[in-house]
């Protein structure tokens, strides 16, 4: 380990070198990182408050809402449906060999359908939305930022948050439940098809067990969680686009980070809401207690 800094390091202040300095540097870097994270969370929170604030003012015009709804809802349906079918079939493939070993293959329906409506359906729909729509929103808004179109909007007395963010936010918030239900339905259909038609599980028992174990609260909890996922995707993606660095690289980075941050936040929200909803279920129906 060198005992002193080389003399040709420009105008950097000369510092003592050693284990204590290394620890100080490490703490300082950690502090910078923490401050950066707190600032970023604060920025997104302010952005979210401003967006929600505009919801209580004048709502966006029909001609700005409908294209957003079409992009977010209608164009996402095929990809959500397709991935839903396949995830249902994959669950059947993976679960069958395990359940067959203990002669419980007729319970496959309960496991597949429960997993789908409570977790996989909403998370899958949200992931597809973050990948397909979130990245596109970040790239579009990022390009608008780089080419000064957002400044142009503001200069003409149109609030960019009201004009650009609110329609996207409403689109994600209102249409993700529909996408989740579609993912649930297609996943259930795919799992049932593969289990009963390919793997030969008895159809009557498959559905009977599904009915016994999957309740309305399970479907509600999945759809309820999806609302938070949709709001998070819209806010994070629009925020990334609005704060895009200049140039093509900045736009690319905004699109990538929109998906990565959205996905991480979806999983965090999923965990927190999963715990809360299970607790609620326990409070409402103590006899049907679940593990938290």
């Amino acid at each position: 380990m060198p005992t002193a800094l080389p003399s040709n390091v420009g105008n950097q202040p000369t510092r003592a070198w050693g284990p204590i300095q290394a620890i100080v540097d490490w703490i300082s870097d950690l502090g910078d990182l923490v401050i950066g994270w707190i600032e970023a969370i604060g920025e997104v929170a302010v952005f979210a408050f401003r967006t929600v604030g505009w919801l209580f003012g004048r709502l966006p015009r029909r001609e700005t809402l409908l294209p957003s709804f079409y992009q977010i809802g209608v164009l996402s349906l095929p990809v959500v449906a397709l991935t839903g079918v396949f995830i249902g079939m994959v669950l059947a493939v993976q679960g069958y060999s395990q359940f067959r070993g203990i002669h419980l293959e007729t319970r496959l329906g309960a496991v597949i359908n429960m997993s789908l409506v409570r977790e996989l359906g909403p998370v899958l729909a949200a992931t597809m939305l973050a990948g397909r729509v979130g990245s596109a929103m970040a790239a579009e808004l990022g390009t608008m930022r780089v080419t000064e179109q957002i400044d142009a909007l503001a200069s003409m007395g149109a609030n960019p948050i009201q004009y650009l963010v609110v329609p996207r936010f409403l689109g994600c918030l209102m249409l993700i439940p529909a996408l989740t239900i579609m993912a649930d339905f297609m996943g259930v259909a795919g799992g049932a098809f593969y289990s009963t038609q390919i793997l030969g599980v008895d159809s009557h028992h498959y559905w009977d067990n599904s009915q016994k174990f999957v309740g309305a609260f399970d479907i509600f909890s999945g759809v309820f969680k999806s609302l938070f996922f949709g709001a998070a995707i819209a806010l994070i993606s629009c925020h990334r686009g609005f704060n895009c660095d200049p140039g093509a690289e900045g736009v690319g980075r905004a699109a990538t980070s929109a998906f990565v941050y959205s996905f991480v936040v979806i999983l965090i929200i999923d965990l927190i809401l999963g715990i809360l909803l299970d607790s609620l279920y326990y409070i409402l129906w103590p006899e049907g207690m679940r593990f938290i």
């Binding site: 003012g57 000064e148 179109q149 400044d151 503001a154 200069s155 003409m156 007395g157 609030n159 948050i161």
Partner: protein, 340 residues
């Protein structure tokens, strides 16, 4: 002053303002002998009402608050002690600038000296770290989102690359501010769009085109038509001739002059094209990059008429005006030697 050839039907006089209704059905208004309004009587704005937001906008644009100081009535824009930083980088320091109504001001200076940042501070697109920007008496820095949005209706901004919305056609771009802030019918909007496009010399054939299908000069002219759509009180031009051929540059210069002659508009033109500055401006202000100034020096190193530019003693100004790179080349050589 009112022409004697036309008979006056009625006349109003208040201080330096003079308004007159001529028998040809035309209303004309003068401010200190300068014609600031000339329009047919039928085109007067409607009486403001709760059901007519458009008339409210126009009425608000025209009223002069009684409680404002006299100073703010003379100057439309006033920046006081303006500091702008981007992270740790200081871009503007202690800028004091007053722009009177009706003036055309050219902001000149090297690339990166903060001209565009100053222009964007004037409209509130860039929030200063310190200082105030007063527009017609109200401090834009202290306004909230909604109030600032309302004030911006009084501005027109021509961006460097025109910043047209690429998802919209030319007609939709020009119509955008009208659809946002007025309740005009589609027919009325179409007429205004066509009139604005005609004013900037664009044919009807461009209305259905997307910005990507236009040349740089055409995009700038569409941007100008869009900036004019709401009859702004102040027009901000960010490097209007950059990237254009000499002929198209002169077309844009002529349009700036023609716009000023047609409307009672105050203009701020950011440019490093000296031909543009000399041709369109009543007043020139030169900024200098902070990185090359000492702490005591003012960032505004010239403030005068275009004629005074040539007689000014400061070498930094004359070198910029004449396009001499000698001193910069010497600085670059010294820097290279230091680093090498």
């Amino acid at each position: 002053m009112p022409s004697r050839a036309l008979a006056r039907v009625g006349m109003l006089r208040s201080g330096e303002m003079q308004a007159c209704l001529l028998d040809a059905g035309v209303v004309k208004a003068w401010h200190t002998a300068k014609l600031i309004l000339s329009q047919p009587l039928s085109s007067r704005p409607a009486t403001p009402s709760a059901h007519n937001p458009e008339s409210r906008i126009m009425a608000r644009q025209q009223e002069i608050p009684k409680d404002k100081p006299k100073d703010s009535q003379r100057s439309l824009v006033e920046a006081r002690g303006l500091h702008v930083n981007f992270g740790r980088q200081h871009v503007l320091r202690a800028i004091d600038l007053t722009i009177p109504r009706g003036q055309t001001l050219a902001l000149i200076g090297e690339s990166g000296c903060g001209k565009t940042v100053l222009l964007k501070s004037i409209i509130g697109l860039v929030r200063p770290a310190q200082g105030e920007v007063h527009f017609d008496g109200s401090n834009l820095v202290k306004l909230g989102d909604r109030a600032l949005t309302r004030e911006r209706i009084r501005f027109g901004f021509l961006f460097q690359q025109a910043a047209l919305f690429d998802s919209m056609t030319v007609a939709q771009n020009v119509a955008f501010p009208l659809r946002q802030h007025t309740r005009k019918s589609d027919d009325e909007i179409r007429q205004i769009v066509m009139a604005r496009l005609a004013e900037v010399g664009l044919p009807e054939t461009v209305v259905a085109k997307k910005p990507a299908e236009l040349s740089g000069g055409m995009r700038k002219r569409v941007g100008l038509a869009r900036a004019l759509a709401l009859n702004p009180e102040i027009l901000l031009y960010d490097e209007p001739t950059t990237g254009l051929d000499p002929i198209m540059s002169d077309v844009i210069n002529e349009l700036i002059i023609r716009t000023r002659e047609r409307y009672p508009v105050t203009s701020v033109v950011v440019t490093h094209d000296m031909h543009t500055a000399r041709k369109v401006a009543d007043r020139v202000v030169m900024l200098f990059p902070l990185s090359r100034l000492s702490h005591e020096e003012s960032q505004i190193i010239f403030d005068g008429t275009p004629r005074q530019l040539d007689q000014f003693g400061d070498a930094r100004v004359t070198q910029f005006v004449q396009g001499e790179a000698r001193e910069r080349l010497m600085e670059m050589r010294e820097l290279a030697e230091l680093q090498g």
